[in-house]
């Protein structure tokens, strides 16, 4: 298999060609995967300009031009899903985003490393739990007969209607995201905080700066780039809110409250069989999403940050 083994002259002679041939072959399975399942599927977006006829398949189905997009722009349910998506994104930005930051500052301020590491381990864990289990856990704790309501009625208080109640859906969704990902979200802040030179704090303290001024003048400048970067990335991703999370709970509260663009695509296409129409909505989201990520990255560069890509 290795013709040049133990033959230094041969190594030199064969090196260039042999090496790149091996590397090229090693690259092939991965490249084939990306070409087929990403670019092949990307090409499949032509269905957005067709009316899918199961018998004729993807390529045989008749073209309808921009008909699917026209229907989509005139569909009130589509715009409802866009508004729901944007609203849930904004809610998460306002109520979820500060939590990992606060938690990271709290963890970073702990001087007892055993406790810090223990709390970190516990807080990271929910990130690895599937959405199915997270939703089931919330049902068990906050449902009609769950932990919270049993406790409330046990002490003679009114029970609260949370699971399956459209009015409580928004806080519930944000609470789930906080429970699942706030701990994991601290990692990037903790990494930034760990890079601050201890001597800067010491110098500031010797100069008479109290904890608040040290926070303002040493800590905050160190993590500001990370905060800006994450905010911009989140804005670029504003058309996506936890698809699995929404899909699992949409039926319980109804589409008026829980339909987001991704679930709209799912219900129109996979459930309703209207593939062309659903693909049009998905393509719309993909194009706008890519433009937003691109724009967000440009803004990040403009602000002198590193951005997501160069």
């Amino acid at each position: 298999m290795d013709p040049s083994r133990g033959d230094p002259e041969g190594v030199k002679r064969e090196r260039k060609g042999f090496q790149s041939r091996t590397l090229f072959l090693l690259m092939l399975p991965g490249v084939a995967y990306f070409l087929l399942f990403h670019y092949g599927a990307l090409v499949g977006n032509v269905i957005a300009f067709k009316e899918y006829v199961p018998f004729d398949g993807l390529w045989g189905s008749p073209w309808v031009g921009l008909g699917n997009f026209q229907r989509m722009f005139e569909d009130a349910a589509f715009w409802d899903s866009v508004l729901n998506t944007l609203w849930l994104s904004v809610l998460q930005l306002v109520f979820y985003f500060p939590v990992p930051l606060g938690l990271a500052l709290l963890l970073h301020s702990l001087t007892w490393s055993t406790v810090r590491r223990f709390v970190q381990s516990v807080a990271y864990l929910p990130h690895f739990i599937s959405w199915v289990i997270v939703v089931a856990l919330f049902q068990q704790v906050l449902g009609d007969t769950g932990l919270l309501n049993s406790g409330l009625s046990g002490v003679g208080l009114h029970t609260v209607d949370i699971i399956g109640n459209p009015d409580a859906f928004e806080p519930l969704v944000v609470a789930q995201v906080i429970w699942k990902d706030a701990g994991w979200g601290t990692i990037i802040f903790l990494a930034a905080l760990a890079q601050v030179d201890e001597q800067q704090y010491e110098a500031a303290a010797i100069d008479g700066a109290g904890p608040w001024r040290r926070f303002w003048h040493v800590t905050l400048p160190a993590i500001r780039p990370v905060i800006v970067l994450l905010l911009i990335m989140r804005l670029g991703d504003i058309l996506s809110v936890g698809f699995e999370q929404m899909l699992l709970q949409r039926d319980a509260v109804g589409p008026e409250t829980a339909e987001v663009i991704d679930t709209f695509v799912y219900y129109q296409g996979i459930v309703g069989g209207d593939y062309g129409f659903a693909a049009a909505a998905g393509l719309f989201k993909g194009v706008v999403g890519a433009l937003l990520v691109y724009a967000a990255n440009k803004v990040a560069h403009r602000l002198g940050e590193q951005g997501v890509y160069k």
Binding site: T22, G30, H38, G44, N45, S150, A205, E244, G282
Partner: protein, 295 residues
């Protein structure tokens, strides 16, 4: 708290601040742990105790494994557990193999086609193909209702690829040179130099893949008939949506499964994650991830 950990310049913490911090930390730990405690306890309680208590138990008075016995009796859940385990093991191995080889090739300078391939890969990050075209592709490829449909469409994860590539690039160039002088080709360098040095990164990426395969349910709901479902999709249908479990022997739908059985399914779906978690946790400290996230 040990005073030695506090640097000399820092003020002595005020008791009130300390108390508030302790309270916040306790709240974080309890919020994460109590739900798990409730499901484990309820799964171990007798049906009567669960009903008497109104649907859940914080601490079972007479623990019983009845619920688990029901589940492992060879019904739907037993089968789903096998499917999940199989897909997770095979999927993780295949994913690791394809990710390692591609990451290694892309980490070496001057490989033919390396630059365009890297761009090709990174572009998919910006523009994912979309649910409907992916579904139709799987359908056209004849993969519907095959376990391959849970693995092949998600074979290589771009994030994991970038993590591994970054790690391979950090292997000192001198080691490559030395191996080459010993007459090793690129394949030998990968197997006997690069991979042994990258154990931590391989462990993290492998565990990421395993967790993703184990937790996956949406593709199963898209592509598979219900008798081939993995555990998470079974869990979704019978616990989250509250459908009745079908009796495996008679094929008849029974009433909704007893609460303790539902919770036992939940526990079984969670336990593998809890088991691999300490290993995953061990490698966080090695900076593999923070380095990758930063880049």
């Amino acid at each position: 708290m040990s005073a030695s950990a506090r640097p000399g310049w820092m003020e002595k913490p005020r008791p009130l601040t300390q108390a508030a911090k302790a309270l916040a930390l306790a709240a974080v730990v309890l919020l994460v742990c109590v739900p798990f405690l409730v499901i484990v306890s309820t799964s171990l309680a007798s049906t009567r105790e669960v009903v008497d208590n109104g649907g859940w138990v914080l601490w079972p008075s007479e623990p019983t494994l009845d619920a688990y016995r029901d589940i492992f009796d060879g019904g739907i859940v037993t089968h789903a557990l096998g499917v999940s385990a199989g897909v997770t093991i095979v999927g993780t191995l295949l994913s690791l193999a394809c990710t390692v080889t591609l990451a290694y090739a892309l980490s070496r300078p001057g490989v033919f086609g390396g630059k365009p391939v890297l761009l090709l890969v990174l572009f998919t990050f910006l523009f994912p193909p979309g649910m409907i075209p992916s579904f139709l592709l799987v359908k056209e490829l004849g993969l519907l209702d095959s376990y391959a449909s849970l693995v092949l469409p998600v074979l290589v994860n771009v994030f994991n690829l970038v993590v591994l590539r970054g790690f391979f690039q950090s292997v000192p160039e001198e080691l490559y040179e030395a191996a080459r002088l010993d007459g090793a080709g690129d394949w030998r360098v990968l197997v006997s130099v690069v991979l042994p040095l990258s154990k931590a990164a391989l462990a993290v990426v492998g565990l990421f893949y395993a967790v993703a395969y184990w937790n996956s349910w949406f593709y199963a709901s898209l592509y598979l008939e219900s008798d081939h479902w993995p555990l998470q999709q079974v869990l979704r249908t019978y616990v989250v949506s509250g459908a009745g479990l079908t009796d495996a022997t008679t094929g008849e739908a029974t009433v909704t499964a007893p609460q303790s059985v539902q919770m036992a399914v939940l526990v079984i779906a969670t336990v593998p994650i809890l088991l691999v978690y300490p290993f995953l946790q061990k490698y966080f400290t090695k900076g593999v991830l923070t380095g990758a996230i930063k880049s």
